[in-house]
């Protein structure tokens, strides 16, 4: 790397760069381009494969850089599969109800933990943070869920994860930044704690609420493991678990005809697109909120 202090002025450039800096910049641009391609191409491969003719997909080897003989046939097969539709409905149920409960409980928890005056708050905090570092593990959790009678119930996808400690702490951090005088003056005017929480704190922390809503919703949309552990009946399966069965070819023999059609690579691609595009569509619009959430969380580690 050149360490020249005085460099020749370059025409039409406000900032002066040394030759070494320019070379470094070019190298970085090349690496970033390659990395972006490496991330983008496998995704586009799925997308273009999904719109290609199934027979061409079977014959094709290598990545799809464009759809071959574009068709919507694969998608018609996907949407005719009843388990995809039930999966969609179950996932939507879990996303809506689960996220609602998540956010409600996280707001309550965050509000209480952000009140510094109360004596028990520090104990509560300690108790909750401890669970981040020490967990009971899969088997004892299973026994708890079982003893509550939640096995094979859709609530088993919602209740055991009703609060994500991390998200609650993100929320708490935001609430702790609201000046104390606001809730205090409301309390003096006779407001109760729930009123302060929902009328004052929540509107003031709108952006962070948006962030945790998104975090929870994405996590619910993509979750498969709790359903895999706790659910037995296929009509209750969320989309990701159906997806797992289709993609990893665990369809039962009784559904031979269906699985024959589903075996085709192109239909697999279309299934992935159907299951993934909704969540990816959400993302670009909300990117800045997501990023903000990470940063708020990062301050606390």
């Amino acid at each position: 790397m050149s360490d020249k202090q005085i460099t020749k002025p370059v025409k039409a450039m406000k900032v002066r760069y040394t030759r070494g800096e320019t070379i470094l910049h070019i190298v970085i641009v090349i690496i970033c381009t390659l990395l972006s391609l490496a991330i983008l191409l496998p995704m586009l491969n799925i997308l273009f494969g999904a719109f290609s003719d199934p027979y061409d997909v079977m014959k094709h080897s290598g990545l799809f850089l464009y759809p071959i003989n574009p068709t919507l046939y694969n998608f018609s097969l996907v949407f005719n599969n009843p388990s995809i539709l039930t999966g969609y409905l179950n996932t939507i149920f879990v996303v809506v109800v689960g996220t609602g409960l998540n956010v409600l409980l996280s707001l309550i928890g965050a509000y209480v933990l952000s009140r510094k005056g109360a004596r028990l708050v520090k104990f509560f905090t300690l108790m909750i943070v401890f669970t981040m570092y020490f967990q009971g593990g899969t088997i004892p959790s299973y026994i708890v869920v079982e003893s509550l009678g939640l096995i094979n119930s859709r609530w088993s996808m919602i209740l055991p994860g009703a609060i994500s400690t991390f998200n609650m702490i993100v929320m708490r951090t935001a609430m702790a930044q609201v000046p104390d005088s606001l809730p205090e003056s409301a309390m003096i005017d006779g407001a109760s704690h729930p009123q302060v929480l929902f009328r004052i704190m929540t509107p003031l922390c709108k952006a962070t609420v948006a962030v945790i809503v998104l975090y929870y919703a994405v996590a619910h949309w993509n979750s498969w493991f709790s359903a895999f552990l706790y659910l037995r009946d296929k009509p209750k399966f969320p989309l990701q678990l159906i997806l797992r069965q289709i993609l990893f070819q665990e369809e039962t023999n009784s559904m031979a005809a269906e699985s024959l059609a589903l075996d085709s690579e192109a239909v697999k691609y279309a299934t992935i697109v159907v299951a993934t595009v909704p969540i990816l569509m959400v993302y670009p619009f909300l990117q800045k909120y997501f990023v903000k959430g990470v940063m708020v969380g990062a301050v606390k580690g």
Binding site: S36, F123, I143, M295
Partner: protein, 344 residues
């Protein structure tokens, strides 16, 4: 009830935890000073009564959250007791026979102990070496990009895979690395023997690591990027005046300023050391690769829920939880001693 809680609260009072670091730091002086004054004047019971009458509403509000944590977090912790039993679901926790440390001894003496321990450590150490620095490097590179739109595009694209479910990613991986998948075909131009890579033991670890980097490099870089942006520009100015080139600036300004962030992420990573992504491995491994892919958590899952060895697998899980906890605690202590920055 509240007296009991309070005594715990007092005894743990000194343990400052990571959430309250900032706020408590600001209020500590005032609060502790005031506290000790009150402590002399009023007896404990009176203070409790005062606190209760003032904050009752707050505590009632907290009940649902408390109930959740007691049932779904402390319940399983108590459930770890079954690892000292010969647990039978019909008899329940109270009816099952106590067997002491038998399950632990069985685990430590079994063939699987070394296999899962070796695989767990191998996967997480490799992950630490290869995956951990990648987001830092990416953040440093993104920071150097000069075109705004290109920078934005790189960020958007690299963040994207974070939102794709692990089921989809694993199916993409198995598709790309199958006998005639795109990656296998590409590599075969360089004399690579075309095989279904996920069925080969030697490719498991590289595929696990690379797919992990693929999915998380962008997302994990956000934290570092925001830390880099937060560095005072004057530091760079001063370094430039002293004649520091880009490389010198990197090592003398950027990295030292990033260090606290890196340490925190490192400690968190250490905590996850024994919890290698078992959701991912469950989708990725198969009996052909168990020998190199089976980690503690996947073993717990198979023994507990497929073979119904409840107590035995709870013992394995307990081993896992305890070691993880000790690792976070130890790393934190070590880093505090070394650099003064830690989680708590």
């Amino acid at each position: 009830m509240s007296v009991f809680n309070l005594s715990i609260y007092n005894s743990k009072n000194r343990l400052d935890n990571e959430i309250t670091i900032r706020e408590s730091f600001q209020m500590k002086k005032g609060k502790s000073g005031g506290n000790s004054e009150i402590m002399i004047r009023e007896p404990l019971s009176k203070r409790i009564r005062k606190d209760w009458s003032k904050n009752r509403g707050l505590y009632f509000l907290f009940i649902p959250v408390l109930v959740y944590y007691i049932i779904f977090h402390y319940g399983p912790m108590a459930g770890l007791l079954i690892s000292f039993q010969n647990y039978k679901p019909i008899k329940g926790v109270f009816g099952s026979k106590w067997v002491g440390l038998k399950n632990y001894k069985d685990f430590f003496n079994s063939y699987y102990f070394w296999r899962v321990l070796r695989n767990t450590l191998k996967i997480s150490v490799t992950n630490l070496i290869f995956s951990f620095p990648m987001p830092i490097i990416l953040a440093l590179m993104i920071n150097e990009l000069r075109t705004k739109h290109f920078k934005k595009a790189v960020q958007t694209i690299t963040y994207l895979p974070h939102f794709i479910s692990i089921v989809v990613i694993m199916s993409m991986l198995s598709d790309l690395t199958s006998r005639n998948g795109a990656i296998t075909t590409f590599l075969s131009h360089f004399g690579f023997e075309p095989v279904t890579m996920l069925q080969e033991q030697k490719y498991f670890l590289p595929l696990y690591i690379i797919s992990g980097i693929w999915q998380n490099i962008g997302w994990n870089s956000i934290i570092y990027l925001s830390a880099i942006i937060g560095i005072d520009a004057q530091l760079y100015e001063a370094a430039k005046i002293d004649g520091a080139g880009k490389l010198r600036q990197l090592f003398s300004v950027t990295l030292p300023c990033l260090f606290p962030t890196i340490i925190i992420m490192f400690i968190l990573q250490m905590g996850k050391m024994f919890n290698v992504g078992h959701e991912k491995i469950l989708l990725m491994y198969n009996p052909l690769t168990y020998e190199v892919a089976d980690v503690i958590n996947t073993y717990v899952y198979r023994e507990g829920l497929l073979n119904m060895n409840w107590s035995y697998s709870a013992a394995v899980g307990m081993f896992n939880s305890v070691v993880s906890f000790l690792l976070v605690w130890g790393t934190n202590k070590f880093s505090k001693k070394l650099s003064g920055s830690g989680l708590w």
